[in-house]
Amino acid sequence: MNKEKTELAKIHHDMTKRTLVALVEDKPGVLNRVASLFRRRGFNIESIAVGHSEQPGLSRMTIVVDGATTAVEQVRKQLDTLIDVVKVSDYTDERIVARELALIKVHANSETRSEIIELADIYKAKVVDVSEKSLIIEVTGEEQKIDSLYELLRKFGIKELARTGRIALPR
């Protein structure tokens, strides 16, 4: 019963996540400015991913915000106020392609290794590192896919997890 509740809560939480994409100038300190803005306005960032865009001198920043606790329209407007931010769009209700990449280092010995690799195959994930006691799995996809594989790998013992946060483009 409790497990259902937490799962429902998680689904609800996922549904309230909103994706903002900002095109920002590649000027020093931009990331700091955005982070500082979020901190002082009390906006909750779930994830932030930034890298060069197709336009020279501009970077694309994908920000996932918890819509349940944050006034997303205010987030969008406040971001827009920043001089270095060229454009902000809320892509949540648009048709987008959203992806995230995760590296999961999981405990693995000779007994558990094949089961883990089977799971990875099912998720179309890759094993990118093997050692006697562990292996690293690289998986890309939407957050739920990564969450799901992560849950299944838990019983083997997760050593480390690194996630990039979502990036997204409109279809």
Binding site: G29, L37, E73, K77, D80
Partner: protein, 572 residues
């Protein structure tokens, strides 16, 4: 032709029409000060604390409409600017803060007098940059002035490493700036304006809420036209004071925590609120959920992020207030609201801002009244923060546009004196009265030396109640009179003034108030009046924190007075 970075900066300032810089030197800015004499168009005013350079630049900007400029050295000089910059940020004042920085090889090494001022001021500037090459100076300065003065004005900080001042480059002042992320909307959307005009047409109990945006945009004429054409009463925020003449029939004074009871009542009963250049700050709205419960809201503001931030808005109009009003004035029809206006005037009569004048102490409100009377509403009033600030807002009759300079958003004690310096330097032919409290005054009184050095004819009124008055009032009303850290001593202000070379007088009797003010006015040069005022006088009306504007606390003494009167009547 190659110039040193410091010279390039000065050339840029001249190109931008800068005439005054408020500053304080130090190691990192010596190269800049070294070349200043080559630019006699740039008058430098030496302050006594960098915070006051920022405040002076802020006030200068408010009264002249130009970008105020201040200079500080690196490290403590720059960090001393922080309060002044934050103050300008919250009140949307255009200033350029120029800070020195350690030389480039030393940045990030905890060098002597190094501080990450650009990191520190990110949340309180509209924009800031470290200028890393002499050849970048011109474009950075051009951008800085553009950003500071356009859209919603605000402070911009430029940080100059010392060796950049000494580096040489060819000076070329750019024709334009390229800021793809900064395109303020200046004209309101015509369809939205039409919608607003329709709402105005249909409303029966409309009010205009005018804020600092009117003063910034210099839209006094347009506001007057709107109010008169549509016969709508005008209420102001604190910083909206002097956006509309207070002796006008349609003027309903200030709303909010210490606003007039009748202004708050008007908002509570309105069916339409036309908010112009104001941001629904909590001091103005009271508990936001209870604000204007029966009204639709038209919100005209240049900053789109203010719209919908605090209250739900029916018709948002983003644009510069002056532009929007011009179009709106053409769209609205001539209207009359005789019953609503009559109701306003009735409320005004029933809830006057009166002063019960018993007791021997001078009532601070009466000092303001007298200053108003003697200056004939012609002065620029500059205030500190606290009770005296509220009395200055309530009791001076503001008729002259843009004649109140006060720290609204940040509420910075100590603002009065340096702001008076900036105001007088900006408007040397105007009468400038600084109205301050004994607590506030002590925060920045060292600027009296600036007043003397620059020969500024500023009149200063210190309301001395030997308390940090506003805090004491809260302690009285909400903390059982637990006066902790609020009784405050100070110097003998008259002796202090004389030590600075400024004539001064202490006024202790009610009958001597007018005469003292006249003397101060007649004196050519700065003059200080210390008024010994009622120590535990409270600012009324008051809307307690967490209360709505419907829950106005009026001066309890007035109730007693009314009761006595009705006793008399019933005895007749």
């Amino acid at each position: 032709m190659k110039l040193k970075g410091a010279q390039i900066l000065c050339e840029c300032l001249v190109k931008e029409g800068v005439e005054v810089i408020f500053g304080f030197p130090g190691g990192s800015v010596i190269p800049l000060y070294d070349v200043l004499p080559q630019y006699p168009q740039l008058r430098h005013i030496l302050v006594r604390h960098e915070q006051c350079a920022a405040h002076a630049a802020d006030a200068y900007a408010r009264v002249t409409g130009k970008v105020g400029v201040c200079i500080a050295t690196s490290g403590p000089g720059a960090s001393n600017l922080v309060t002044g910059i934050a103050n300008a940020h919250l009140d949307s004042s255009p200033i350029l803060a120029i800070t020195g920085q350690v030389a480039r090889p030393f940045i990030g090494k905890d060098a002597f007098q190094e501080i990450d001022i650009t990191g520190i001021t990110v949340p309180i500037t509209k924009h800031n940059r470290i200028v890393r090459k002499a050849e970048d100076i011109a474009i950075r300065v051009r951008e800085a002035f553009h950003i500071a003065s356009t859209g919603r004005p605000g402070p911009v900080l430029l940080d100059f490493p010392r060796d950049v001042f000494l580096e040489e480059a060819v000076f070329h002042y750019p024709d334009k700036v390229d800021l793809p992320g900064y395109k303020p909307t200046l004209k309101g959307h015509p369809a939205q304006i039409k919608r607003a005009a329709r709402l105005i047409q249909e409303s029966k109990r409309p009010v205009i809420l005018a804020g600092r945006g009117i003063n910034i945009s210099q839209a006094h004429k347009e506001l007057l036209e709107l109010a008169e054409k549509t016969d709508i009463p005008v209420i102001t925020t604190l910083l909206g004071i002097s956006s509309f003449p207070e002796n006008h029939e349609l003027s309903m004074g200030m709303l909010g925590m210490h606003g007039m009871a009748y202004a708050n009542m008007a908002v509570n009963n309105a069916d339409l609120v036309i908010a112009i250049g104001m941001r629904f700050d909590d001091r103005a709205t009271g508990k936001v959920s209870g604000f204007a419960p029966h009204a639709q809201i038209v919100h005209i503001d240049i900053d789109p992020s203010e719209i919908g931030k605090n209250v739900r808005v029916t018709v948002p109009i983003v644009g510069e207030v002056k532009n929007v009003l011009r179009v709106l004035n053409k769209e609205v029809m001539e209207l009359k609201h005789p019953e609503w206006i009559a109701q306003m005037h009735l409320w005004k009569r029933e809830h006057p801002a009166d002063i019960t004048s018993n007791g021997t102490f001078i009532k601070p409100q009466s000092v303001i009244d007298k200053i108003c009377e003697i200056t004939k509403s012609n002065a620029i009033i500059v205030t500190g923060v606290g009770q005296h600030q509220m009395w200055a807002a309530q009791h001076y009759c503001y008729i002259k546009p843009n004649s109140l300079v006060s720290s609204g958003g940040l509420g910075t004690m100590g603002f009065a004196l340096p702001a008076a310096v900036g105001s007088k330097v900006g408007l040397p032919n105007e009468i400038v009265w600084a109205i301050d409290g004994d607590g506030s005054f002590q925060m920045t009184l060292q600027e009296l030396a600036t007043v003397v050095q620059e020969k500024l004819d500023i009149k200063i009124a210190i309301m001395n109640n030997t308390f940090l008055g506003m805090v004491r009032q809260w302690q009285e009303l909400f903390h059982n009179r637990n006066y902790v850290a609020t009784p405050i001593t100070g110097p003998d202000f008259v002796k202090l003034a004389e030590a600075y070379g400024i004539p001064a007088a202490r006024v202790m009797e009610k009958t001597k108030v007018a005469e003292a003010i006249e003397t101060a006015m007649k004196h050519k040069g700065p003059y200080i009046l210390e008024f010994i005022v009622e120590p535990e006088e409270n600012v009324y009306p008051m809307v307690a924190p967490g209360a709505t504007l419907a829950q106005v606390l009026e001066d309890p003494r007035k109730k007693i007075k009314v009761k006595e009167t009705s006793k008399e009547i019933s005895n007749l």
